[in-house]
Symmetry: C2
Subunit: 202 residues, 2 copies
Amino acid sequence: MAKKATTPKFERIAPDERRARLIEASIACLAKGGIQGFTVDNICHEAGTSRGLITHHFGSKNALLAALYASIYVKVLENLDRAEATPQSIDELVDMMFADTFLSRDYLNVWLALWGEIAVNPTLQVEHRKNYALYRERIARAISAFARGKGVKVDSYDIATILISLVDGLWLEQCIDQSLLSLERAKDLCRRTLAAVLTATN
Amino acid sequence: MAKKATTPKFERIAPDERRARLIEASIACLAKGGIQGFTVDNICHEAGTSRGLITHHFGSKNALLAALYASIYVKVLENLDRAEATPQSIDELVDMMFADTFLSRDYLNVWLALWGEIAVNPTLQVEHRKNYALYRERIARAISAFARGKGVKVDSYDIATILISLVDGLWLEQCIDQSLLSLERAKDLCRRTLAAVLTATN
DNA sequence: CTCACTGTTGAACGATTGTATAGTAAAACG
DNA sequence: CGTTTTACTATACAATCGTTCAACAGTGAG
């Protein structure tokens, strides 16, 4: 036997990178099995680590869930910023609303689990309040810019709230059963509603 | 010791009645702790029975959840039938949408849990498809009747889909954090949107 | 009253839950 | 190279999970 050329028994990486991987694995588990699939066993198996790492890096499973929520909203806001600042048409505006990766059907169970937790967990509630305000802020700005371009004066915050709720509702119904409502028809109905609301405040 | 006047050790009631009570207890558990609170221990403690009864009356916990879902939708449709057939104003129509007991904040976790299950469980998916169709049917009829009264011609199914989604979305946001959106403001935004959509198709 | 029926109990089962912890090993530093 | 640090593994733990099952007991029929 010459030199020891054995492969390392485990990969030792920076804590931030490990945390990111555990969050990613957790999202996959949530997507697959909802909050019931969000177990230490599932997550660590998905991440390819042993079960001790969640406690080591997050302190508890609940803390991991909170970190997961924060991480998702960071990305949602980033994606929004990457999108065009001022949509030129209602089509563009609606597309922007539906564009986000996290509004894919795969994430239905993720959002359902998070919403359920937010309603119960005070820490997440505070986090949500902040994030939702930021989210609505940007949507309102986009609406405001779009309306100004058309020479229309609107209450952008009200319309942003309507639009967000409508998109959430349509997305939800479409996720739950696509045969009842396709994504394309959901967008269509959204465009139609938005057009009506924008001209009504003319 | 004279006659035996001991209180019975348990209450022996008709299977249907027992099933109803177990479903009621299950709803309470779901409301309190989401799908994580939906455990045999919790449910039977809430219902005041021993743990064997769920298997005996439903076969399994999952079957109980399916029965619960069916039971809720029966009541939702009943409530809708009890409501005025043809709303005379947009206010009445919107009030009708928000009126249902099951759109109380207490039921947020119940719906989140059920939606998560529907998306996964094929049996519930079939059940949902049927129920949602019935639900939309009645909403569409109400819209149609209302519009006819106003002398307006509308595509009542499209508008029903929009209205249901909007109500769901607004209700959701309002449940998750009331400080971001109150119920009264949600109704207000709903009225405004509905009015705009109805006049736009004029 | 006696018997059959069955709604109901409660203990027991193995599997799985989240966390604590002792020990291992990879990487950084001198 | 040797030492220190700490990311990491792996086991153990009590608690709880859903389900099974044998025995109990309330109720109506005969």
